[in-house]
Symmetry: C2
Subunit: 156 residues, 2 copies
Amino acid sequence: MRDTIDDWPTGRLLSVAARLVEQRWRESLERIGLSHAGLIVLHLVERDPLPLGELARRARVTAQTMGRTVEHLERSGYVRLVADPSDRRRKLVERTEEGGRVFDGIGAIEATVFPTVEQAAVLRMSLLQIIRHVGGDPEAPGPDGADDGPARAERG
Amino acid sequence: MRDTIDDWPTGRLLSVAARLVEQRWRESLERIGLSHAGLIVLHLVERDPLPLGELARRARVTAQTMGRTVEHLERSGYVRLVADPSDRRRKLVERTEEGGRVFDGIGAIEATVFPTVEQAAVLRMSLLQIIRHVGGDPEAPGPDGADDGPARAERG
DNA sequence: TGACAATGCTCAGCAAGCTTAGCAATTGGA
DNA sequence: TCCAATTGCTAAGCTTGCTGAGCATTGTCA
């Protein structure tokens, strides 16, 4: 009875699948100096600049992690940090032209990176359920401010 | 039109969901000095000791990463490293009694950590599809040796 | 047998999660 | 007005992914 992955708990399958897909992304992204985390940021600031903390909330990571990811993006020239005149504690993250070009070119390969699954819609729905259940819903505050609930700080 | 997570690509949802679930695990595991990665190892060596490389293949991580995870487990006293007399390059990873006790106590909380999803069976099937598609099937060699395919080295 | 390739593991270094601790700016109440 | 709490971000340190490089052992073949 050779141990087989079919018996693994779902949480473990989730971790492994996510890691493998992220790795596959890395293979596509590394040649343009972008990471999967950076890709998410470029996506989030597609329309308007956002403060660092708001980015963190939306991506469900801590402000510290987001700070470092943005720092790398900035070094690559894909985003720019702008001081918020209305609140000097804040730094707004803004996409550069180069960042926009790179991001727009990526949409095409998105389909080739993520493998085809039979019941994709159900998969999406399940993942959203998990995220909502475990991670809360940090999108309530809205893009123009961050006055509402903390992202996932209810455990600190 | 406030940006909402529902529009995110599935790969990104997968990453976020996996991370959130892993964090929840950490909250339960940290008080006993165990990590999610360590938990997987304790699971894999439940029956018999396995060489480090075989563990890496089954968990779909690199040998270096597995080496470090096992090192931490060893420091916590949950596994033991035994030299393989038949191949002195190898180190067999073996669960200690303490490791067995801890692992057995964890099964109970497994259900409380992973949230309930409506179509759990479809979710599992989808995750397995992704893993098989992206990560290959490194379980072919069998537990008593590692003579077959490399885990995910076809890209090196 | 002796040289070369393959295998198993380790070391060093990077990215991206996390935590705790801390500084600066803003807000709010006495 | 002024002090204290809150908020936004940074610093330092840990784990776990990764890569590339390197050492020891084993296997293979001339």
